[in-house]
Symmetry: C2
Subunit: 242 residues, 2 copies
């Protein structure tokens, strides 16, 4: 499994992914789940993937091949807007489905892919989409300004309480890292290193990419102090008197 979060804020986008992939507990590997397409000044797109790694990699490959092909072909680098880019990612998902789904089924493997597409294309605001195995997708709104894919439940309570479109990118990153910490603690199939990306509104490029491993001082501080803070908050609440 994996855990990825995308947040859409007034100031821009924050994206966080882990890098654990596994096929049984004796076969745990580290693969990045984040792919970036950038044409500075014109567009920046980030794709986060969860689910079967072979499927995720195949989808990214199809998208890369298209982007490298002739200018005239529809691809992520010439999509006129992010909605159209999401359609093109959905088409790549369907292409891989058509190629692999039957063969996978014969081995009892379900075709599952779950993706987050985020970014900004010149002429419109930053946007955030979640794309499903069927190639269809939904877009984040002011009321639901975030998407999670993969092992999303452990880390959802803190996001539900904190994320509003008005918070800063740094606060959103802090929340994403706390959410990731809760997931790492409760689920073995999510693991370091993490990729954290900031896309500032109208910068049209990745503003900052931080690779976070176990020695990263800020994340180490979060891991230690958030546990303490939770235990402190727990002890501050009175016990029941029945």
């Amino acid at each position: 499994m994996t855990y990825c979060i995308g947040m859409l804020l007034g100031q821009g986008l924050v994206l966080l992914s882990d890098s654990r992939t596994n096929a049984g507990l004796d076969h745990i590997n580290t693969f990045r789940k984040m792919t970036v397409w950038e044409k500075p000044g014109d567009r920046v797109l980030v794709l986060l993937t969860a689910g079967n790694l072979a499927i995720s990699q195949a989808i990214v490959n199809v998208l890369n091949e298209r982007a490298a092909s002739m200018e005239g072909e529809p691809n992520l680098l010439n999509a006129p807007n992010l909605f159209e880019a999401a359609i093109r990612v959905g088409e790549a998902v369907r292409e891989v489905h058509q190629r692999d789904a039957d063969a996978l089924k014969e081995f009892g493997v379900e075709f599952n892919a779950s993706l987050i597409l985020a970014g900004q294309i010149a002429g419109e605001a930053p946007r955030l989409f979640q794309i499903y195995s069927a190639g269809n997708f939904i877009e984040a709104t002011h009321d639901t300004p975030y998407f999670q894919i993969g092992e999303s439940k452990y880390g959802k309570p803190i996001i539900d309480r904190v994320i509003k479109p008005g918070i800063s990118l740094d606060e959103a990153a802090k929340c994403a890292l706390i959410s990731m910490d809760s997931t790492l603690r409760s689920n073995l199939s999510v693991g370091l290193p993490l990729d954290l990306v900031f896309i500032r509104r109208d910068a049209m490029k990745v503003d900052r990419h931080v690779s976070i491993d176990a020695d990263h001082p800020y994340f180490a501080m979060i891991r230690c102090r958030w546990s303490e803070a939770l235990r402190g908050a727990f002890h501050d609440l009175p016990n029941p008197e029945w």
Copy 2:
């Protein structure tokens, strides 16, 4: 769905269950998920159930019928110890499986049942078991003194950080209620009222049963102050400086 927790502590057992059951979002009902068998002074057993409600109710019915039948038949009221009681619950699960699984399969419904059995039988310490759809089961230990069934992920991080066998029953109840609150907030398919049961070690009876609805003052306080405490803890942590 549902969410139930069982905790095994030095002082005894704490059990908490919600009461939401649904078949599609337009058909949400309230059914208790907790069944108690008590022979004061000799034994107390509590069963929590998650999964398909028809299956859960059928299992409880089989167990009740056996308990009401002739003294000589093996049932929960004459099991010599809790391990044997868990075997008898597992047998009931298998009996319902044999009766219903094929018919359910024809309608594309998987046979799923997930149960927690907790209690104490005279002559041994309190024990806690988790029983699976196949009728097999595992027992809680000093290292893992709790089980969750149903929508367990949202509420796991706080339990992972707080529950140790040495904490008091009241502290464990507070932790269970916080865990339930996180689940209620993030998942519509878990709902009030809650059943909270305390079994004090060697009391050989239910020490206290509390039915908790939206007006319950302690739970209302938890809901309000835990959110505040989380947000406070979040704001107390410094933002990243990259």
